[in-house]
Symmetry: D2
Subunit: 355 residues, 4 copies
Amino acid sequence: MAGNSFGHLFCITTFGESHGPAMGVVIDGCPAGLELSIEDIQIELDKRRPGTSHLTTTRQEKDKVEILSGVFEGKTLGTPIALVVRNEDQISKIYEPIKDLYRPGHADYTYDAKYGIRDFRGGGRASARETIARVAAGAVARKILASIGVKIVGYVIQIGKVKVTKIDESFIDQNVLCCPDKAVLKTMTNEIENARKDLDSVGGVVEVVARGVPAGLGEPVFNKLSADLAAALMSIPAVKGFEIGNGFEVAGKRGSENNDAWITKSGKVGTQTNRAGGIIGGISDGEDIVVRMALKPASSIAKNQKTIDKRGNKAEIQVLGRHDPCVCIRAVPIAEAMMALTLVDHYLLSRTNQL
Amino acid sequence: MAGNSFGHLFCITTFGESHGPAMGVVIDGCPAGLELSIEDIQIELDKRRPGTSHLTTTRQEKDKVEILSGVFEGKTLGTPIALVVRNEDQISKIYEPIKDLYRPGHADYTYDAKYGIRDFRGGGRASARETIARVAAGAVARKILASIGVKIVGYVIQIGKVKVTKIDESFIDQNVLCCPDKAVLKTMTNEIENARKDLDSVGGVVEVVARGVPAGLGEPVFNKLSADLAAALMSIPAVKGFEIGNGFEVAGKRGSENNDAWITKSGKVGTQTNRAGGIIGGISDGEDIVVRMALKPASSIAKNQKTIDKRGNKAEIQVLGRHDPCVCIRAVPIAEAMMALTLVDHYLLSRTNQL
Amino acid sequence: MAGNSFGHLFCITTFGESHGPAMGVVIDGCPAGLELSIEDIQIELDKRRPGTSHLTTTRQEKDKVEILSGVFEGKTLGTPIALVVRNEDQISKIYEPIKDLYRPGHADYTYDAKYGIRDFRGGGRASARETIARVAAGAVARKILASIGVKIVGYVIQIGKVKVTKIDESFIDQNVLCCPDKAVLKTMTNEIENARKDLDSVGGVVEVVARGVPAGLGEPVFNKLSADLAAALMSIPAVKGFEIGNGFEVAGKRGSENNDAWITKSGKVGTQTNRAGGIIGGISDGEDIVVRMALKPASSIAKNQKTIDKRGNKAEIQVLGRHDPCVCIRAVPIAEAMMALTLVDHYLLSRTNQL
Amino acid sequence: MAGNSFGHLFCITTFGESHGPAMGVVIDGCPAGLELSIEDIQIELDKRRPGTSHLTTTRQEKDKVEILSGVFEGKTLGTPIALVVRNEDQISKIYEPIKDLYRPGHADYTYDAKYGIRDFRGGGRASARETIARVAAGAVARKILASIGVKIVGYVIQIGKVKVTKIDESFIDQNVLCCPDKAVLKTMTNEIENARKDLDSVGGVVEVVARGVPAGLGEPVFNKLSADLAAALMSIPAVKGFEIGNGFEVAGKRGSENNDAWITKSGKVGTQTNRAGGIIGGISDGEDIVVRMALKPASSIAKNQKTIDKRGNKAEIQVLGRHDPCVCIRAVPIAEAMMALTLVDHYLLSRTNQL
């Protein structure tokens, strides 16, 4: 237990500082016999990769993954799968002038408080670049889930003040914002563009849906599927809120309005509505699992901000570098990955629930 | 790993079905030398206990705790502390008629799907009675936290449509609703009374604040303090949403509006505002930790509902029994307990962060 | 992680000091649907119970187990199974005079060094009475193993200077020593009687065999079946050595003498000999698993010994009380239990090795 | 939990197949602020490296380690430390002819039984080459231990029929056998030479001593220091037995012969003798920790052996390749590493034992 592992049976351990030699992950507990190629992983990394749009950062990260172990003749061996992505194209020197300053909203001070030492280049371990490892591991998880009919899709439902009004999944891949609503695409885009022009950033909300999840996943009372999903998504950089199903809205409802009626659906038990978001009593019920996470506007902004340095002296700071004006877009594949990692872990756990 | 343990170093394992012989918890990893009496624990259980107000259930639960191990001559030994509360005053026979029906919003079906068997009396393991064990263990955690100057306080900030407009902590203990705002107490009370009259229930939101938490708690990247707190609170029955600091509100903000400026406070590093809720980069920053959780209206309502039985036949159901019309009130000490358990665990973990 | 839990999926957490209110265990992760009665557990506890022979301690321990949770209508629910045995017939006052003395071979000093506090009555948590919880949990493990055809048998192969010359399993239950060799029973018995007369104790070796274990159990490279079995048996009080198969003897052998040839046995892969003790590369190979553990002579002897008190003053001590002159005999069901707990855990783990 | 992690707080996860791209380890939980250079690690790897003597394998492995994360400006960051060693100089084609044969004493069959797939080149994951990762991580553990005055030394005490008669630690580094007894060096060397000439291998025993270990390490009742050390050493390839202190010898002793008397040593509590090997009740007592492990003769021998192939057909096999005639010598740094990893983990754990 030291914070960089996730999962009980399908267990990943990630490593890497943003300006260190490499990012990576070891997946321990991946079942043997899964067909796995480097392309399966690269395709997911490419979704996360910046530089594909002017709406995300302009850093050019190649992010080519290498498989160091665990795969033989195109199949997983059941042994640990180590995946490494080299860090390239970092410009560390721009961090020199601010290495003693605490960037507002950043983990500079908290890392100093915790460890007494900090890699000031980029965000060090606190950089969102850390999530490369999650996406790489998530690609493996998704392949297993696909083999049992589970499909995961994520999208942006809010950027700044702009919220989607409908979910058209076919539209998600047709725009760089992962926006499922053509009607708001332009205003959403403006929201980001305006933030950038103002040397500022803007927050948002991402929703992730998992379809085809079998009933019975989740380990009450502490590793309820809802609890493990919450931990999974709340561990993503910048996330400040998590909901499942109707989420915070349920607070204002009556039980008779919020309960989902049990019905029979093509011979199986199901619910008429899905206000619960596919999880009841911490266990999946076979309906779509629907979660949302709120992301704060990126802390790194070029605008002038007041702060202090590590000796307590007042200072002003502009965080330069090539930062995302809106981290939501790139958070979509990350959230999908964390959902996949959680589900595959609970799927394996569920194999031992009955004699 | 089987779902009923929480914590890495201060690790609790809970057990018990609501109509079985007893509920209980084993605390493994409590440091030796803590002064601990049975009263320390009983006082917290009494806060959680129903029957103290007509606004909660009228069940009379004595909930007397017994210490089976780990304490000697008034001090903890460093060995496991086992706490047991016998179940009494249960009326199991009222569950006989509905034992094959799936109660809407309840975990009846999901337990059947997972385990192929279910204790239909009360909620079995899915009953909120399970939380006795959390509160008992939380009382021990709070004693440790008190010794390092950490204080935790929870309260209700929303019941149904009624939200508080200010937080007056001195008022919390003066009303059975744990409401911190005298101005809305009457309308909040009505919200619950009306739900009861309508044979219905109502949801709400609970906020918990921890003061005096040292900077440096939290284990990135997966056991960030935010992630572990999310899992802790999302594991409480009926919780559907979790926020930290400004939570979902941050989605609509600019970075320049949301970043907290670093300042010096009486010689220590602090922030001018606390939109982050005391956690930055998954690590406590020394400011108040502020979290919220949304609770759905209790699933058990006496109102008539449509459902099916375990064989898929349509049925109607009224869930009788003495159920809370609003679970929020009793959720306050539970949320405080989970906060305490998470913080004490991370406090112990933080002792190993530096050489 | 705090030392009192064992197992990854079938996970037990034990508690209790020998002169505290009770000993107990919580089993988390027992699959649902196992038929389980209180007799299933009591029968194993009775084997371990002292007072059945003058060759073990004369303490009269009733050791009646109570099931507090996890079982409903005769079957396991998949929820935690809590088992409790009350402590009775303890005479704590005899420990008053030696409460500040460090008994030679005992954990008095090491507990003081670790925790700064110690329950001096009996052995506190360091008492062999702690193993009641292991045997109770082991009884549940054995029922699961029986359902897949695994049988575990343990016996004494050495007491003091006396070693068995053959293994006749049918004889084990016919003598209170769990000795499998009628020819040495009398000399073994004398070995113990003589130690008792001399106010002394004597050591020994216990062997445990598991038959019918499927090939494929064990999780390399750190949770090899051999490593987890070693930890399991080495955690039993008084154990100082562990072997698997030919154990230390292999050191003196050539590879050509020690390798077991692979052959076909009734259509399955097997080995011609079983020098490996059923585990190769840390994974079971389908042959009998054979392990041994060496137990030191009990530390508690009535003979006069030199020691110091907690302030460092020289002292003499006779450890009175009703102690076993040879702990080996009662260690047999404990070793069987630990073997069962390890195997059932790895059996569950093995369900997730392949897609 | 999937078998490739070791340690509770100082937790390592290893990966790599012997003929795959690389071997490696991620260390999570290393305290921040430790001075660490690549030389600190390389020096330990070089001790383990084959090719330095004709008594070990003639493979030329460079085994150059690379640090991918967790170290910044010569100090540990508190974040995961990833270490990678590329595999080079493998000749995989020699395994083609035997890829369907089960090598006697090898894990070929058990891996097939477990995973349904196997990397037949070299030993795959079951290769002793896996231990590179342990030694690399152990080097970091040793640096921490050195900072608190703990020193670990291992040596060979038996090769085949030849046992040492005394321990002269100053002689260990003066011979390639890590033999502490000049008097038997020649006969020991012959034992290995003769095995090689006979196309055979020979077993042995390694002893490891840790000095300066503070009293109080070990987490009863399941993670006793003795139990975790047993698991640590029994997880090393080829190990079939484990002892602590006087080990199996204690079985033949009386309590009065085996108990170590408590005395005062330069103001601290100590024992007059150290039959217990530095651990009492599963907790270190401040004396030297002394453990031994028995290693079987290497399974890979060039001598002709009978076996079967994966289809059950009888076959003959000579395991060619450049194998160690005696694995004991190279096992010394591996055993030291596992001792170090276990001790540093328990040292960190012990920081939380008291308030």
